[in-house]
Structures are given as C-alpha cells and as structure tokens.
C-alpha cells in the first residue's frame, strides 16, 4: 500500500537549463579528485584529514548540482563537521613523531597498485562499452520539495531500515565506548 507513497517525479526534459554551468562540474570534481589523491599520499595524517575535508565539501557541491540539497547539507554537517572532527581527535591522540620518519607504504604496494589499476581498467571498459545504457535525459526533481520527499521516504517506505539504522548507531556508541575505555 505504501510502496507508491514516495512521489516519483518523472518530468523528463532534455533542453532544461542546468542548475550550474558545466565549468562548476569540472572544477568541483577536479578539486575532489586532486585532494583525494593528496589524502592517500601525504605523510602527515593531519594534512590527509584536511584534504579529505576538501574532498567532502566539493562532493557536497556536486550533490547540489544533482538537485540533492538535503544530502549536501547532511554531507557537510555529518561528514565535514562530525566524522572529520572525530578523525582529527584520534590523530591528535595517536600521533607519533617517529611515525613521520618511517616508511609510509607497505611492501606490497606495487602489487596493490597493479591490482587496483586492473580494477580501474575493468570499470573503464564497462563504462565505455555500456555508455548507451545510461540515458542522457535527466529527471528534474523539484528542489523545494526535496526535504519533504526524503522525509516521506524515510518515514514511510523505509521505516524499518530507519529503525534498524538507529539500532546500528546505538550499537556503534556502545561498541566505541567499550573499545576505547580502559576498564569498564
């Protein structure tokens, strides 16, 4: 009965003006990719964390370009504001001076990069061959109703997963306290 409660707006239009010019797409994805590379190459974990914040913020911009303002807001509040603060706290707790002088990559890094690049080649092959599967037309979701529609989705269609997610968060809180506390 409730399966149709989530409104599916299928206003397919091809000649609609994009929400932002194409330049912003290239700029935001360029910032995201460059700072993602900096995340995995920097020696100091604090620099990696700050690059990761740049990646997350530019991804929030990409979500805005995709007509998803609620996800963009949650991304900034939860990722850039919550998870990254947690990461920085832990980096401050476990940061070692001698760690900066050590080797940063493990012994299997050549094999790892080769395996990952073969995965990248597979993905590229699939995208080149199957490009026609993804339609070019886009549904213009009305931005002003985005939050209401996501709320309807969360509280009607996906009610049970929502409750399970709250249980998951409770388990994560208890688990983190149990792990990090010296004596319980």
């Amino acid at each position: 009965m409730l399966m149709n409660a989530l409104p599916m707006l299928a206003l397919f239009q091809t000649d609609m003006e994009p929400v932002a010019p194409r330049f912003f797409f290239y700029m935001l994805s360029g910032i995201a990719l460059v700072s993602a590379i900096m995340v995995i190459t920097r020696k100091n974990p604090v620099h990696s964390a700050i690059s990761l914040i740049f990646t997350l913020l530019s991804l929030a911009g990409l979500y805005l370009m995709l007509y998803a303002p609620f996800v963009a807001g949650v991304q900034i509040i939860l990722y850039a504001g919550g998870i990254m603060v947690l990461f920085l706290f832990v980096i401050m707790l476990v940061n070692l001076e001698r760690n900066l002088k050590e080797e940063q990559f493990n012994r299997q890094w050549v094999v790892g990069i080769l395996a990952t690049l073969s995965l990248a080649a597979l993905v590229a092959y699939v995208y080149v061959k199957g490009k026609s599967v993804f339609p070019d037309r886009v549904a213009q979701l009305p931005e002003s109703l985005n939050v209401q529609q996501i709320a309807i989705g969360l509280y009607q269609n996906y009610m049970l997963p929502f409750e399970i997610a709250s249980l998951l968060l409770l388990v994560a809180i208890v688990g983190a306290v149990v792990m990090a506390k010296k004596r319980i």
């Binding site: 993602a36 998870i83 707790l93 070692l96 790892g112 979701l141 388990v171």
Partner: protein, 100 residues
C-alpha cells in the same frame, strides 16, 4: 545541456579507485580509515547521480550509507585507540598478534 550521468559515474569510479589504492598501499591505520570514507563517498555520489534518473530512493539510501560511515568511523577509531594503548603503533603491518 545538462551534464550526463556517466560523467558523475566516472568521477565516482575514480574516487573509488583512489580510495582502494589508499587501503591497499598505506601503513597508517588512520589514513586507511580515511580511504574507506573516500570509498563510501564514491558510492554515495553514484547513488545520488542515479537518483536523478530513477527517483529519490538513491538519496534516501545515501543517508543510510552516511549512517553506516559514522558507525564505522566510531568503532574503527575506538579499536585503533584500544590497540595503540597496547602496542604503541598505528602501522597495520605491525598488527600481527594473530599471525605466526
């Protein structure tokens, strides 16, 4: 002319690959956890890009993925602190208590 969905998928795939390289090559546990965050963000970008084609389900699911990411970061960093207290290291190849 709006940007085709494939462009977003390519950006997400590149982020996923970068995150995977970080997971398999770095030694520092904190940076490995950050690379896992990169992978989850690539998945989120895919979901939101497809929600432009197939309705809002993808955006709802990306909220669940963010919940998972928060839980994973909290538990993972808790494990890291507990381990650091015992062995004074954050390198994964020195975490070999179960290896013989």
């Amino acid at each position: 002319m709006p940007i085709p969905t494939v462009y977003y998928l390519v950006v997400a795939a590149a982020l996923f690959i970068i995150g995977t390289i970080g997971v398999v090559t770095r030694r520092n546990v904190v940076i490995i956890l950050m690379s896992i965050e990169l992978i989850l963000n690539a998945v989120n970008l895919n979901l939101v890009a497809f929600s432009q084609l197939y309705g809002l389900h993808g955006q709802v699911f990306s909220i669940f993925v963010m919940t998972d990411a928060a839980a994973e970061a909290a538990v993972g960093l808790g494990i890291l602190i507990a381990f650091f207290r015992n062995k004074e290291t954050v390198n994964v190849d020195e975490i070999d208590l179960l290896k013989w």
